[in-house]
C-alpha cells in the first residue's frame, strides 16, 4: 500500500497543527485506488502486482478535542455526521497532532480508530500521526509524521507517505500529481477561457488545425505521385522509340555503305561487261530498290551469323509490318510506294515535349508540357524533305552534330530512296532481323506483288 498527499494539503495540516496550543485532530478526505502492474518477462510468466494507493486530497480539522467522542473514547455518530456532513463518504482516514510524544498510537486513538472504521465503513482507514519534537533549548524543532493502517497486522502497519515534489525539483522532474484539483475557482476560470483553446469536443483547436495541414499535404503528395507515375511511363515510351530510331539510323548507314561498295564493284564489273543487267540493282530506282536483287546480303544491324537474303528480309518486313506496329500512337507503316508519293511512314512520334529529363535530347520541341501529346501522323511531302529533316533529327540526335550533318550531307541525295526503301525497315527491330525468319515467301514479286503495284 502506498499513500500520497499533495504538498498544499500537507502544509495546511502542519499549519493548523503548529498553531494550536494543544493536541489537534481532524479527518482526511481523499481517494483510494487500485493500481495493477503487470510485468512480462522473457520467461513468459507475467506477474501482476496490485497496489492500493491512498491519496489524500483534503483535511477537515476538528474545532476542539473530544468533539466526536467522550471520555471513554466512545464515538458519537451524530457528532460525526454534524462535523463531516456530506463529506463523510470521502473520508479515508483521520489525523492527530501531538507535541513531544512517541510515534505510536495511543490508547484512546486505537479505540477511536476501531469505531471509526466500523462507522464510516472504510476497512483500511488510515491514521496520520504528527508530532513536533523540540530540543530542550528550543533550537531545533522537528515535525515527524507517520501514516498507520492499524487494521492490518501489527508488523505491517506503517505506510510510506510520499509528498510529490517535496525536494529538489531543479534536478528532478516536476511531477504532476494525480490528485485532482478540486478548487472551484480553478474550475471556473478554466471553463470561462477554455473555449479559446478547446473546441466543442474537448480537443485542443491547435491540434485540429495541424491535423488539417497534415491531411492537405498528404493529398497533394498523393496527386504528385500519380503525375510522376504517368510522366515516367511517357518517358519510358519515348526512350523506346529513341532506341528504335537509333537502330534504324545505324541500319541505314550500313546499307548505304554496302550499296556504295556494291556500286563500285558493279561499276568495276561494268567496265568489263554490259551494265544493263547490272543496273537493276541500282539503288536509285525505288522499284528495283524494293526487290533489291543484290547478291550480297543487305546490311542490317543484327549480329546473326547467317544473315538471310535480302528478299527474305523484305518479305519479312512486309509480313512483319502489320504486326510490328509501334506502341506509340504512330500510324501504321505506309506501304512502299514510289519515290515522290506521299504518305511516308512516320518513324515515330515527333513532338515529345517532356518537361522531365533531358536524356532524349529531342531538339524538336523544347516545351515543358508535362502531358505527352500524341504525335501527329507523319505526313511528309513527296520528297519527304520535311520529314527527312525530322527523321534525321529524331534518329540521330544522340550522335555528334557533325556526324549528323555528315549523315545529312551524305544521305541527302539518296535519302529519298532510303526513305522509301527504308520505309519497310524502320519498324523492324534488330531483334526481329536477328531472328532470321525463314523465307516463307517466294523471292521476287509474289509477296510484294500487291505492293509493288
Amino acid at each position: 500500500m502506498a499513500a500520497s498527499i499533495s504538498g498544499y494539503t500537507f502544509s495546511s495540516v502542519c499549519y493548523h497543527s503548529a498553531n494550536s496550543n494543544a493536541d489537534h485532530e481532524g479527518f482526511l478526505l481523499g481517494d483510494v485506488r487500485q493500481e495493477e502492474t503487470v510485468s512480462i518477462s522473457d520467461t513468459q510468466i507475467s506477474s501482476a502486482e496490485l497496489l492500493q494507493v491512498v491519496e489524500i486530497h483534503h483535511h477537515d480539522p476538528c474545532a476542539q478535542l473530544f468533539s466526536f467522542y467522550d471520555y471513554a473514547g466512545k464515538v458519537s455518530e451524530e457528532s460525526l455526521n454534524s462535523i463531516l456532513k456530506d463529506r463523510r463518504k470521502n473520508v479515508i482516514g483521520w489525523y492527530r497532532f501531538r507535541r513531544n510524544t512517541q510515534q505510536q498510537m495511543s490508547f484512546r486513538e486505537q479505540i477511536i480508530h476501531k469505531q471509526l472504521t466500523q462507522l464510516l465503513g472504510v476497512p483500511d482507514l488510515v491514521f496520520l500521526l504528527f508530532s513536533f519534537i523540540s530540543t530542550a533549548n528550543s533550537s531545533t524543532h522537528a515535525l515527524e509524521y507517520v501514516l498507520f493502517r492499524p487494521n492490518r497486522s501489527r508488523y505491517n502497519q506503517r505506510i510510506t507517505l510520499s509528498i510529490p515534489n517535496l525536494g529538489n525539483t531543479s534536478q528532478q522532474e516536476y511531477k504532476v500529481s494525480s490528485v485532482p484539483n478540486t478548487s472551484l475557482n480553478y474550475a471556473k476560470v478554466i471553463k470561462e477561457h477554455g473555449a479559446e483553446f478547446f473546441d466543442k469536443d474537448g480537443v485542443m483547436k491547435d491540434i485540429r488545425t495541424i491535423f488539417q495541414v497534415y491531411s492537405a499535404l498528404q493529398d497533394k503528395l498523393q496527386a504528385v505521385c500519380g503525375e510522376v507515375e504517368q510522366s515516367e511511363r511517357v518517358k519510358e515510351k519515348i526512350q523506346e522509340e529513341v532506341n528504335k530510331l537509333k537502330q534504324q539510323i545505324a541500319l541505314r548507314k550500313r546499307k548505304t555503305a554496302e550499296e556504295e561498295r556494291r556500286l563500285r564493284e558493279a561499276q568495276n564489273a561494268d567496265s568489263h561487261s554490259t551494265p544493263e543487267e547490272n543496273t537493276e540493282p541500282c539503288e536509285g530506282s525505288p522499284l528495283s530498290g524494293i526487290t533489291f536483287p543484290t547478291p550480297s546480303a543487305p546490311e542490317r544491324p543484327s549480329t546473326s551469323p547467317n544473315p538471310p537474303s535480302y528478299t527474305d528480309l523484305m518479305s519479312q518486313d512486309d509480313s512483319l509490318l502489320p504486326s510490328s506496329s509501334p506502341p506509340t500512337s504512330a500510324a501504321l507503316l505506309p506501304r512502299p510506294q514510289a519515290v515522290g508519293s506521299p504518305g511516308h511512314p512516320t518513324p515515330g512520334p515527333t513532338v515529345m515535349g517532356l518537361g522531365l529529363g533531358h536524356g532524349l535530347g529531342l531538339g524538336l520541341s523544347a516545351s515543358s508540357n508535362p502531358v505527352t501529346t500524341p504525335s501527329t501522323p507523319y505526313l511528309g511531302n513527296g520528297d519527304g524533305s520535311s520529314s527527312d529533316s525530322l527523321d534525321r533529327q529524331a534518329a540521330g540526335q544522340e550522335d555528334d552534330d557533325d556526324e549528323e550533318e555528315d549523315d545529312e550531307d551524305e544521305d541527302s541525295s539518296e535519302y529519298e530512296n532510303l526513305v522509301s526503301e527504308g520505309a519497310h525497315l524502320p519498324m523492324v527491330s534488330a531483334s526481329v532481323l536477328a531472328q532470321g525468319r525463314p523465307a516463307a515467301l517466294s523471292p521476287d514479286g509474289d509477296a510484294h506483288g500487291s505492293q509493288a503495284t
Binding site: A18, N21, A22, Y71, R99, N100, M105, F107, Q110, S134
Partner: protein, 385 residues
Amino acid sequence: MNNMSPEVALHRISPELRPLLCSVVRNGRVGLDSTNCLRVTDLKTGCTSLTPGPCCDRFKLHIPYAGETLKWDIIFNARYPELPPDFIFGEDAEFLPEPSELPHLVHWDAGNPECLLQLVKELIQQYHHYQCLRLRESSRLLFEYDSLLEDPNYGRNMEIYAGRKNSWTGEFSARFLLKLPVDFSNIPIYLLKDTALDPGEDVALLSVSFEDAEATQVFPKLYLSPSIEHALGGSSALHIPAFPSGGCLIDYVPQVCQLLTNKVQYVIQGYHKRREYIAAFLSHFGTGVVEYDAEGFTKLTLLLMWKDFCFLVHVDLPLYFPRDQPTLTFQSVYHFTNSGQLYSQVQKSYPYSPRWDGNEMAKRANSYLRSCQSGLLRCLFILSG
C-alpha cells in the same frame, strides 16, 4: 532529565495538573512492590515553545510490576486540564484495556487529586488480566497460575508478567511475583529502625522466572524490604532452596514461605533470648554493669574489680544467639596500646552451651570470669608495665 526527583517534577508541571501528579509521586504505591514508588521522568509540554512555563503536561510514568518496570506515557493538555489523559503503553502495544473497566476514566474528575492515581491502579489491574491471558499460550504456566489462584494465601497477591515471546526461537517466558504471607509484625522494632529509607510496609516478595514454557529453567529470587533484610542479617544470610525440577509453584512457594517464617521466628526468639541473657547478667553482676543495649540487647559492658585492679568486660551477643556464642572482650582501664586504644583482649572460647538458659549462662560466665581473672590480669599487668 531522567532521574528526576518528585519535587522537580512537580515544579515543572502545569499548575492545573499539579495536584494530580502530586498524589502520584508522593503517595503512589501501586502493586505488590510498594517499596519502589512511582517515578516520573521525561516531562514535556504540548504547548507551543513560546508558551511561558511551567506548562509541562506529558510525562513518562515508571511503574514497578512483577519485577519489571512499566514505562507508560501519560498525555494531558495543559490548555484543557479538565480533560482526561491519554496513555501510550510503551512496548505493550497490544494492551488495550476496555474503557468500561476504567471507571475513573469514564467519570474523570479533574478536581479530585486522587483521580489519576486511581486510574493508574485500574489500568494496572487490567494489565494484570492481560498478562494472565497471555499465559494461555503455555499450558504449563497456566496450570501454575491457576493452582496458585486457588490458594487464597497467594492468589490475591500475585503479579504475572508474561514476557515478550522471542519471535526467533519461539520461547515464551513468564515471571510470577508473589507476596509471601509472612508475619513480620513481631520482629523487634530496633531491628528495623536503622534503615535510611522509610521502611513502609514490611514485605517479602518471591519472584520466580520461567525462562521457557516447559518450566525447565526456573530461577527463584527472594526480595525483602530493606528493613526486613537488615533484620534478618542481610541478603547473604538468607538462601532459599532452588526450584526443584519438575516441581510446581504450589509446592515450592509454601516451602519458601515456611523457611522465611522460621527465620523470622528464629530472629524473634533470639531477641528474647538475648533479653533474657542480659537480664540474668544484670541480676548477677548488679552494680558492675556499666551499660547495656536496652533495645536490642546485643551488648553489655561490665566493670569488674580484682584486687583493686579494675577492668572492663564487653559482652557482644551475635544475631543468632544463642546458636552463636557471645564474645567477651577484656579491656583495661589504665593502659593504652601504641595506637592509643585501650588495651583489650578478646576471648571467644569459654565454657558455653546454647542450651543453657540465661540464668545458667550468667552463672557460668561469672565463674569463668573469676577463674581467669588472676591469670588474665597478671598478663595485663605485665604487658602494661
